[in-house]
């Protein structure tokens, strides 16, 4: 069917979809930057979805039980902005559309979570959206099990492109969704056969339908420009108990005489002349950004279509018992339970009394054993390292199709997919995700971890085996640069606790910071309890603090994190025995220390004494704390790694690489 036939066959639908298409063309043209081809190709699917299926109410974008819509092919951002504007999301004004991709607008080049209601997650890096959506569908299933289908019962829809499906992360997401039988996850594949380099077939011949089927999905294939076929496919997909892929055969840059079906429609403006031709083909006579009032009105009616359903839902919510409603509202708001603080304090007190000699990964498990019963919204898991990451506590139960009340996810060997699913769990709301792998394999998850930080969401990465202290597995498994690489990510809080008390404090901070992700960097090897005197205050909250004060004249300050604080304490003993007054500063979280006022930082790291930092990683980044903020005259040194690790028993490695109290003492004395 050509466009003129399509216009005749479904005139009302055509004009609604055309509104999306011209907005995309016009905005990209005005910005002289952007991607018109994808919105032009997927406008029919989006129109039918929003008109006939998506449960939403534009006047109340934060309705907890709304369907989620994820534009995984985030470069087609104008499709989303167009939908939000046309359906009447209050913040998405025409002015914003006109300022597409301009500094200060909410209509960024790619959809940015937090810029405007209706942007459910940040997309653009390919494959992330579809993987977030898996987490959202998991969150829905979990919350429905916890609060009942009367208040939680919604779908998650995704538009994904060839790029999303070629990225490795999609394999992890699809596998996880298939195993979890996420029947309320529905993915539209924009099967236009074109990527930036030209025909997709230049790089890929994968039969996507067969591939999704192989991972336990239902599938269908439709003409992505046929509104009836789209409607029927969605209706069918909503009924199945498995996730569904709807392959939509579309034309990128649909209707552009010069650019349809070519890479030229992908990432550049069509040009004024071409746009004029397309307008004519579309039967669209209004000027740029001018949506005829009757078409806008129809779209606005779609935007308010969910009003009744929302009111009914609110009544259902009111029907819950006061306790359950309060709990629902608490977890949706993201607030931690009041009991959390007391729970952590009690745990800390117990640790200070019992003084265990355990790995911080074990301390983390102990903290979780206290936290998980108090916070019903935690959803734990591991990328197939449960026994090593110590992420499973008893009574969590396995999250699986047969047990949606379970709160522990066997993510499989899928670090990137896990991280992205956790992002989805977090942005969905009502869930606080944490998940484990080895610190080294943060490399595999980094694409999604960066988005946790950029979105400013509460995801907790439990990263164990955090140094050469893991021993025999060798350099492929031993992080050396990873602390630096993670600390470098803005808004990422990297905790490297020194003992069981600091681990409990790190957990408390990670859970209470609603606007930032955290990494907990934890040891495989045992560590003594250093915080043997109980303090109710969370000393880690200021990022760094004095673990042991110098006796006599303060000549040296040892800065250390995690497992190396023990070494600093031993070095301090030896230095003090020689009459060298030595302070030990534990720095469990650089980012929090940085956030303190200068007075605190100066109090902890006063000018004068020599400084030696000790960390079983690279020096990279440490000079900031060694040189001081104003380049004061200071002699400073570093005890740590200078390159990759080696395979061998951990104690031998520490000696081999010179990360010892003796080496620390020597360094201090050489500097004095």
């Amino acid at each position: 069917m050509n466009i003129s036939e399509r216009r005749k066959a479904h005139p009302d639908h055509w004009m609604k979809a055309a509104a999306l298409r011209v907005l995309a063309m016009d905005a990209v043209q005005a910005a002289n930057s952007g991607h018109p081809g994808m919105p032009m190709g997927m406008a029919d699917v989006a129109t039918v979805l929003f008109e006939k299926h998506l449960k939403f109410d534009a006047s109340t974008p934060d309705w907890a039980d709304r369907d989620r819509f994820v534009l995984s092919a985030g470069h087609g951002s104008m499709l989303l902005y167009g939908l939000l504007y046309l359906t009447g999301y209050p913040e998405m004004t025409l002015e914003q559309i006109k300022n597409f991709r301009q500094l200060g607008s909410i209509t960024a080049g790619h959809p940015e979570y937090g810029h405007a209601p209706g942007i459910e997650t940040t997309t653009g890096p390919l494959g992330q959206g579809i993987s977030n959506a898996v987490g959202m569908a998991m969150a829905e299933a979990s919350m429905a099990a916890r609060f009942g289908r009367k208040v939680v019962d919604h779908y998650t829809y995704v538009i994904a492109g060839d790029g999303c499906l070629m990225e490795g992360i999609s394999h992890e997401a699809i596998g996880l969704a298939g195993r979890q039988k996420l029947g309320k996850l529905i993915v539209f594949w924009d099967n236009n056969g074109i990527s930036i380099d030209g025909e997709v077939s230049k790089a890929d011949v994968t039969d996507q339908i067969a591939r999704f089927k192989a991972s336990g999905w239902d599938t269908s294939s439709i003409d992505g420009h046929d509104p009836e076929a789209i409607d029927a496919a969605i209706t069918a997909a909503k009924k199945t108990r498995r996730p569904t892929l709807i392959a939509c055969k579309t034309h990128i840059g649909y209707g552009s005489p010069a650019k349809q079906d070519s890479a030229g429609a992908h990432g550049s403006p069509l040009g004024a002349e071409e746009i004029a031709k397309v307008r004519e083909i579309y039967g669209w006579s209004s000027a740029a950004f001018d949506i005829p009032s009757e078409i806008l009105k129809t779209w606005r009616t779609i935007g308010s279509r969910g009003l009744g359903a929302r009111a009914a839902w609110e009544a259902e919510l009111s029907g819950l018992s006061a306790t359950r409603r309060a709990e629902f509202e608490r977890v949706v708001s993201g607030a931690v339970p009041k009991r959390l603080s007391a729970t952590i304090k009690a745990l800390k007190k117990q640790i200070s009394e019992e003084k265990p000699n355990i790995a911080t990964r074990k301390s983390s498990e102990n903290a979780l054993a206290a936290i998980n019963p108090v916070m019903g919204e935690t959803i734990g898991g591991s990328a197939d390292l449960t026994g090593s990451n110590n992420t499973l506590t008893k009574d969590l139960g396995t999250f699986e199709p047969e047990n949606r009340k379970g709160r522990y996810v066997y993510y499989g060997i899928r670090e990137h997919g896990m991280a992205a699913a956790m992002n989805g769990l977090a942005v969905h709301g009502g869930c606080v995700p944490y998940g484990g792998t080895f610190l080294t394999f943060s490399d595999y998850a980094r694409g999604a971890m960066r988005l946790s930080a950029l979105m400013g969401i509460r995801v907790v990465y439990v990263m164990t085996h955090d140094s050469i202290g893991l021993g025999e597995d060798g350099p492929t498994h031993q992080p050396v640069e990873h602390l630096a690489a993670l600390r470098a990510i803005p808004n990422m809080h990297v905790f490297r606790p020194a003992d069981a008390v600091e681990t409990a404090e790190a957990w408390e901070l990670a859970l209470t910071m609603q606007n930032a992700p955290s990494v907990l960097s934890l040891t495989r090897q045992n560590l003594p309890t250093l915080r043997t005197e109980h303090k109710a205050n969370n000393l880690s909250a200021r990022g760094a603090y004095v673990m042991a004060e110098a006796e006599g004249k303060r000549q040296a300050i040892l800065l250390a994190t995690g497992s190396e604080v023990e070494i600093a304490m031993q070095a301090r003993e030896m230095l003090q025995a020689e009459g060298i007054g030595t302070r030990v500063v534990s720095m469990p979280c650089w980012e929090l220390f940085e956030a303190q006022d200068e007075a605190w930082r100066k109090k902890i790291l006063p000018a004068g004494p020599v400084r030696v930092a000790i960390e079983a990683g690279l020096r990279f980044g440490w000079d900031k704390w060694l040189s001081g903020e104003r380049g004061q005259d200071r002699k400073a040194g570093f005890i740590g790694m200078e390159g990759f690790g080696a395979s061998g028993p951990a104690p031998e490695l520490y000696k081999h690489f010179g990360i010892t109290p003796e080496a620390t003492v020597d360094k201090v004395k050489a500097l004095l």
Copy 2:
């Protein structure tokens, strides 16, 4: 068939395979660390492969036309070490086997490239080996096209586990191999149904056979303990024109009464008592590490099986013309052609004369246009950003099944798979791979990039759009922490050239350093030529140098990289106009600067003047150069980013984030 029946059915095979099994059990037990289950499960496959199919000669491990064997499931390293020892690779002595996982041994926890001949690539991080193998098979196809099937004609075999196949990178590798119809790539899937967390089905229900078929592979399914079935499957796989997956149903920890078919066999010693029981079941009576002489002899015969074939191959090589043989030997040795140096010099001279105002991504294309005709071994490509990364030069031709002489790979939207394939191309030898994506998406490729660095191999990452200078695509696409994160990787050389001359110099350095990978961080936006005076010497080779000297008393030093050197030069002009003597130091490569002697570093960065660094990224890591190596009293500042970027036109972003000559001048004056 139970074990006793298997022993009867194939007694000779059984004992050969048993030798591998007991060596694995014994070595893991002695180390009290390691993974016995996988070698015990895959010993039959490995035995048949080495005995009947693998083309190799243990006495000449570097035979260029040997088949490649990749243990993608690297935790089963004892399988590989056992094979190398039994077949008689000279360096793999029994002493080394006994020192498995000990400091200083070549038998690391996971196979480390460079530790011993026969270890074709470093594996352990799951999914990497199978993805490297795709690159190796590409290298074979490319070299065969360049030098003829008489001297290049070999297979690439892989053993991959469930973990490898669950990782996203495997999707990228499989898709690439399927598209490229790599018929000489044969993958054995160790289908034992067990991962660390227990049954694979807890996390995954993917039908792997269907999945590989969907990506264009041939497949077969066999009993992985039946030597005849294994032999037949390999024979069949060698004949097809598509890559083949052989799904081998095996038992992890085969023969262990207590641990077979359980996660308990995966990553821990079996224990002395259990080992004794297994020995009895195997019919193996010798002591630990004692291989009966007749069995060792049989294995050594296997190790020398390829001697004749190798001699014949050497005769074929001698039959090539002297020029072609020299070229073959040169590319296999990794030496660059003598003409390269003159080519780069001529290009630099031309640039200094023409003074183009172009983006460094374009300068990189120009450099490649000069290099590619001179170096027939370069294999370029991009992860679907060819026109943006400027990685394609004319006459390269597309590498595809129909044109193996082509040297440009359409990798598809597969950054991680591309990086891992490049690792495979590099370790195979005879190819120098380079590949492009946006700098931000180094996050996606990081797992493989780290291995380039750990292995110390020549892979060139062409990373364009290297700052907020990319503009409207916004923070998801704007790297801010990536320079820091990449510089943090040991042995990774990060080049951020300031103009076309430095870009040419960076390419020369990246290509001549055989033992390290490089990142070329390149701009989207145009930059002026700063090196307008031609110098034959490669000034970038020392990492940092004086781009412009202070006039009058040297009061300030501006340190900058890439696009910000222009800003430094402008700031210098303004400062000099106010009588403030200002030196500009361009630092195209920190790692090379670090490798210089202290005298050079002091010459470039003398004590005294204030220092201000300018880079459109985070300060993270810069304090090293700002504070000086000995904590001299120095006032220092930084002009750059403090967090994530924003969507908008690039010039506005530079102003918005205060990365301007004016801000630099203000900072210098405030410090003075």
